[in-house]
């Protein structure tokens, strides 16, 4: 049994998930980083991408969640992610993302394009 630490994912509307996990890989603004128990306190912005949660031990990936950017804070008590919106990767429909992406491209909405491209990349992996 690996060491666990507490992980919370919060959106403005509600507390999305909260529990003990073994490892979380966070898409930080300056690159992905993994958080393990006893991680040094840090704070980072997040780019749109997938959070990978390893619940029981560090080898089995249990959940992947797409977040639209936000903040990650690591403190002595654990990892807290403040995300503006979060969707489980399993719930994302790749076909819909593709059509949305095409629509955003033709509308010239750069922000939406970047977001949807990140989403598409997260779904493919």
């Amino acid at each position: 049994m690996a060491d666990l630490f507490s992980f919370e994912l919060v959106s403005p509307e509600r507390l999305l998930s909260s529990g003990k996990v073994a490892m979380v890989v966070v898409p930080g603004a300056e690159g992905d980083f993994a958080v393990l128990p006893g991680h040094a306190p840090m704070m980072s912005t997040i780019r749109p991408g997938a959070i990978a949660v390893y619940e029981a031990d560090m080898t089995t990936l249990t959940r992947r969640i797409f977040v639209d950017g936000g903040f990650a804070e690591v403190s002595e008590t654990g990892l807290t992610i403040l995300a503006e919106s979060a969707t489980a990767i399993a719930d994302i429909d790749p076909a819909k993302v593709a059509t949305d992406l095409a629509a955003a491209r033709s509308a010239g909405n750069e922000k939406a394009v970047a977001r949807l491209e990140a989403m598409q990349a997260a779904v493919v992996n």
Binding site: E8, V10, S11, P12, E13, R14, L15, G28, A29, E30, A40, P41, M42, M43, S44, T45, F71, E73, S75, E76, T80, L82, E84, S85
Partner: protein, 297 residues
């Protein structure tokens, strides 16, 4: 004295009004529960946000290079009042109380020689200002279509305020809404949203023992994070205000409608007594007429 028929019609009318207020009360109670749940669900995020802001506030020095949302424009001339009210009436003193607080603030600012601009979220508080200070109103954000407040709605308002700030339309912004205490008590409240007040660094320093300033690593760095955090913090504050407002509105409406139902009940009782007395009087009069007619023979 009103005729029997008029009285009967009056009673029916009050009865149907009572039915309406009763239904409104029950609807408000159901909506209040939902609004309260929404407000509670949103609490973790804003608490975390506040604690992050506090820890940043302890490390970042406010200087002229700080983001403008934090440092302000360096002036204190033009004030924007963002006034949140409801889109529907019949909510007791809810809208009036918010409008009154905002008016007090506005008059104080005007007396100091400041320029005031008004931005309304929800139309009900707007009406009293339309009559007296329509030249100060710079905008109205329609919330009619929104049933349950979502974060994107708050964000839209925050974006609107931020873009006005960046265009240099005002120096200081205040937000007015009703804080929800209980179904019976709602408190009209004012908070300053721009420049942001960092939740006192002193609060963090006050307990240095347990919040041992373990060197927190910032990525990319404090300034960048702060710059990203401030607009979010603004949205969160507005979101909270909208949620509290929604709960307050329903609470206020519930109380108002409960009172109205009770008053209608009292009125029905009184009218029924009058009706019965009038009917009795009419019967007695008829009897007297018959008897005295018989005696005269």
């Amino acid at each position: 004295m009103a005729s029997l028929k008029a009285l009967k019609m009056r009673i029916t009318s009050v009865k149907s009004t009572q039915k309406i207020t009763k239904a409104m009360k029950m609807v408000a109670a159901a909506k209040l529960r939902r609004a309260q749940e929404a407000a509670e669900a949103a609490r973790p995020y804003s608490e975390r946000m506040a604690s992050v802001m506090a820890s940043l506030g302890a490390t970042v020095q406010v200087g002229p290079e700080s983001p403008r949302l934090l440092a302000g424009t360096g002036k204190d001339q033009v004030h924007l009042l963002v006034i949140c009210s409801s889109e529907r009436g019949l909510a007791g003193g809810f809208n009036t109380n918010i409008a009154r607080l905002a008016r007090k603030k506005m008059e104080a600012l005007l007396a100091e020689g400041k320029t005031v601009k008004l931005l309304f979220v929800g139309k009900k508080a707007r009406a009293p200002f339309m009559r007296t200070h329509s030249d100060l109103i710079i905008g109205y954000l329609d919330q009619t279509a929104i049933k349950n407040v979502a974060f994107v709605d708050a964000k839209a308002i925050a974006d609107d305020v931020t873009s006005r700030f960046e265009a240099g339309e005002f120096d200081v912004a205040h937000l007015f809404f009703a804080r929800f205490r209980s179904a019976l008590v709602q408190e009209p409240t004012e908070i300053q949203i721009i420049p942001a007040a960092l939740p006192a660094a002193a609060a963090v320093e006050a307990k240095p023992s347990d919040a041992a300033p373990a060197a927190v690593e910032y990525e990319p760095d404090e300034e960048v994070i702060l710059a990203e955090l401030l607009p979010r913090n603004l949205s969160v504050q507005i979101f909270r205000a909208l949620l509290e407002n929604a709960a307050s509105e329903q609470g206020s409406r519930m109380t108002a409608m409960d009172n109205a139902t009770r008053n209608a009940g009292d009125m029905i009782k009184k009218l029924t007594i009058t009706y019965n007395r009038t009917r009795q009087a009419a019967i007695t009069k008829e009897l007297i007429e018959i008897i005295s007619g018989a005696e005269a023979l």
